[in-house]
Symmetry: none
Subunit: 207 residues, 4 copies
DNA sequence: CATGAATGAGTCTTCATTCAT
DNA sequence: GATGAATGAAGACTCATTCAT
């Protein structure tokens, strides 16, 4: 009985926390950290300002939590895409596909993500940077290992340092996502991953 | 006579304007738009706050002017690099080299540039976005035409839409600049442009 | 039966009330009225905030109750000390001794007491002031009457208005208590009351 | 010319600072630190809130400056009173007189003074406490030396430790000031210092 | 009675901008 | 043009108090 009651409260709390984060995500991704006020978030989430502070120490903390949770969701999805025991080429295709799916399903997450992995956030949020960048760095290493393995297996030519290839594919997909974000109709993120991957797979100069 | 006197004033004025923009560049690139105050800029430029308002309508205007001038300098340099009547491959090499040079000579410009071309600045500065993005879009078209011409001349394989290839090389170089910015020793921006370009030139899957 | 049950409830209630007041005393005496939050008191007393409001109308009311109860305890002890049918000199000695005892046993009560009898609390708590000051005033009168009686009985010289002498001894003992509070080792409150009382008993200028 | 101009600005600045401190003194002494808002002070001083922050880092800093300046004024006056090369008895008389004069001329300073030397302010303002208490401690030592010298010269009986006598006279005068503050008509601070000093000079028990 | 989540008025503080000198 | 003191709107954050469970 007591357990259920606690459970109910706990569940309510979590739901409210989630509601706040959702409101915050929408606002931050649209206007950026400094152009969103706590009052604005509170109103959008249909709470009083004070309530936000029951869930998050301060504005920065709220933002941090938001970015961390989003980036976790994001990296999990991408991690899975390349961890499946496929052939290396297939892994890259999975990666490109998964990235498109995750982002298209969570549009507002994108800007947040770029604002954080890209230098945009400067050192505004020193602590956050560390966590996020670490995770990001780790992901890049994993991606690099796909290229390295592909080379070992003579599946790939050794055209560049695997790490740089990982950086390249990461950025290539980002670039396409940006194009799509700015003009979804003009530049759709391709369903066929090879449209992006051919830039890596096939060389400009090869016969 | 009067003309010379005016000229002198005019020169002084321009010098002061430049001093303010230089102070602003350093501060904005280091801390971001919202974390720099007008007083801070004034002090760094050794003027009073009021003086800044003789040169710029408001903080946003100052920032806008800064970004516009920097991006002009930047696009001019890159424009020249690919406008020289070289062979297409050489044009791309020039582009990669020039980008490295410009950025390495103006480190603080980089963050500003990324913050603005990338989504970081959101629509904080609606007006600015338009101008900058337009110029940027135009530059991409020019770059794309290099790939298009190369294909026409059968110098390049038709591995992807020239525009996407332009986007790709833009982002590839950016990515390398980021790596360098974060860890100059570990990831130097390569002197040999082919280290970057091989990712485009040679294909992973080609024999 | 019903009576016992009520009684039990009543006892519980009183115990809880006491627990809250104890927590509050410790906190208020340490940090002052404005630097203690209801949540803090609630946590220390191991109750929820709402519970405090079942016992006290508001924060001020809680504080008021606390100060009143403490001052009552305090004045009772001192009242007894001078009401015993001793010789006047002995009464004063008793007073000095009792004051030391009460305070040393209730250190945290001291600051509260001084904060309230002394002007510290300003008119923050208008209502409280009246009650406390009245009781305090009454006590001073009683103390003054000891001096007056001593003079009547020619036990004391008529060196000053008895009321002023009462004020004097009150403040003298307070001063010693303060010294002790700040540096217990350097300035112990004397066991022998005459160390304090000689300042009144013996004159500086007498032979 | 330039000097005069600077001078004028500087003088204006100091005058404004003084005006703020005067407004603050009146409010703080009347309602206590926590019951006065910066807006309130600003309005009373006829400035905008922001202006206060040009002169003082924050509310605490403003309060601190106020208390320090007041206590300096106060201790200077009392220091002079006992430094004149008078006979010891006369020094004490001077002290009692001076204290009455200073306080009667600066009524609002009193509460501030007591709030700070007495425990009322708790550890709200740790840093301040130290400075003030040090000065206060030093003053007590000086006062004690008057008693010590008086004893050496056989002008005073050795009825108690000179330091305790200093504490005693300090508190005795404070007590009378309090009485006066609460009921100026009923308990005027005596013009003749001996009314207070006789409590020390003449003994209750001596013949 | 007990709980503790939610409230929102009230404060401190910052900073872009103005304007008299 | 240059100055920098003054402004005051805006925003982050706190905490006494309420109320549904």
């Amino acid at each position: 009985m007591a357990e259920i009651r606690l459970s109910r409260r706990e569940r309510e709390r979590l739901r409210h926390r989630k509601e706040i984060l959702e409101a915050a995500l929408e606002l931050f991704s649209e206007k950026g950290f400094h152009n969103v006020s706590m009052l604005e978030i509170a109103k959008k989430a249909e709470f009083a300002t004070g309530t936000l502070y029951k869930f998050f120490e301060n504005k920065e903390d709220l933002y941090k939590a938001l970015v961390l949770e989003q980036s976790e969701k994001f990296h999990n999805a991408l991690g899975q895409a390349i961890e499946k025991p496929d052939d290396e080429v297939e892994k890259l295709r999975n990666f490109v596909r998964a990235k498109g799916e995750v982002f298209r399903a969570n549009v507002s997450m994108i800007r947040l993500y770029f604002a954080e992995t890209r230098g945009a956030s400067f050192n505004i949020m020193a602590g956050l940077d560390r966590d996020i960048r670490e995770r990001y760095g780790h992901f890049l290493e994993t991606l690099a290992s796909v290229f390295a393995r592909g080379m070992e297996k003579k599946r790939f030519q050794e055209i560049a340092d695997p790490y740089y290839l990982a950086v390249a594919i990461e950025n290539l997909t980002n670039a396409f996502l940006f194009l799509w974000l700015e003009a979804p109709d003009q530049h759709p993120y391709p369903d066929d991953p090879d449209i992006i991957l051919n830039i890596l797979f096939k060389g400009l100069l090869d016969q």
